[in-house]
């Protein structure tokens, strides 16, 4: 388990509505995931190339996490941000 960088800017937070212990945070330092409500964090950037602008998730299927990067590209993870397989589109 890692942590959020201390005093690091966070632009966006998303919470799994079915498991509120799981939280995602996005900012210039990357994308992070917590499984204890934000006490501890781990990076969740595997495959994600670029600087996250914001993060959200599908409330009906919270393993589907979506991130938008500063270049406008949209990335979708199907496994709770464990992997980010490919950029979907940016336009």
């Amino acid at each position: 388990m890692g942590s959020l960088p201390t005093h690091s800017m966070i632009r966006s937070v998303a919470v799994d509505p079915l498991n509120p212990q799981r939280v995602y945070a996005a900012g210039p330092a990357g994308l992070f995931r917590s499984d204890d409500g934000g006490l501890t964090w781990e990076t969740a950037n595997d495959g994600l190339k670029g600087e996250p602008l914001a993060v959200t998730l599908d409330p009906a299927s919270p393993q589907t996490v979506v991130a938008v990067l500063t270049d406008g590209s949209v990335w979708r993870s199907a496994d709770g941000a464990t992997t980010w397989p490919a950029v979907e589109a940016g336009k």
Partner: protein, 218 residues
């Protein structure tokens, strides 16, 4: 561990906010932001690469009706679809937005917020909007959140004012007796049903100094 001790202390004092982070080294990050644009479609239009201003908010909302995405930022409101990319959505206030949320049980109902705007509500998927600012002492909304399961309850962060809540879908807003996080430059709010609240949940606040978790009743 210091953080756990802080958590316990924070719980004792209703109204406290806990920095949701540990104090240790920053993790390694992707080094090449340009890599994502290599070979990608044209990024022209509202999402052209740009610097993010020091006090800007950017909000995303997932539309469960079709898997599209809404984004609110300084340039306005946009919807992204896999086949068409980002498309602008007209609102009465087409610039400088700070928040957007969708009612997941009724995705045609959505809300948007912005500094100098307050809050807008649409019940037709964004085709028409109406202002819902009754009770807000200013229009300087920098963040907007929807309650996790009460679909008519929303929260805003008003710069220099604090947190306001509506429990009737925006018909009226009232101040929440909470001083907010130590860093009052709140860029986003997110409701959570994390256990420990005396009410129906807590709020996360994203700020330039980290993410904070409220210990108050929301």
């Amino acid at each position: 561990m210091m953080l756990h001790r802080s958590t316990k202390l924070a719980i004792l004092f209703v109204g406290a906010w806990l920095l949701a982070a540990c104090a240790s080294a920053a993790p390694a990050q992707p080094a090449d932001p340009l890599a994502a644009s290599s070979g990608q479609p044209d990024l022209a239009g509202p999402s052209v690469p740009r610097e993010i201003g020091p006090s800007e908010s950017v909000a995303l909302a997932y539309d469960p009706a079709d898997g599209s995405l809404l984004k609110a930022d300084r340039d306005g409101l946009f919807r992204w679809r896999a086949d068409s990319g980002w498309q602008a959505i007209d609102t009465p206030h087409t610039y400088g937005l700070s928040g957007v949320v969708i009612n997941p049980d009724q995705p045609t109902t959505m809300y948007a917020s912005g500094p100098e705007l307050g809050v807008l509500r649409s019940d037709d998927g964004g085709a028409t909007w109406r202002v819902i600012n009754n009770g807000l002492p200013s229009l300087d909304v920098t963040a907007l959140a929807l309650h996790s399961f009460r679909r008519e309850t929303l929260y805003v962060w008003l710069r220099d004012e604090g947190i306001y809540r509506t429990e009737d879908g925006g018909l009226s807003w009232k101040r929440v007796p909470d001083q907010g996080p130590p860093d009052t430059d709140v860029r986003s709010l997110t409701h959570s049903t994390l256990p420990g609240s005396m009410n129906t949940g807590r709020l996360y606040a994203a700020t330039p100094t980290g993410a904070y978790l409220s210990m108050d009743c929301f």
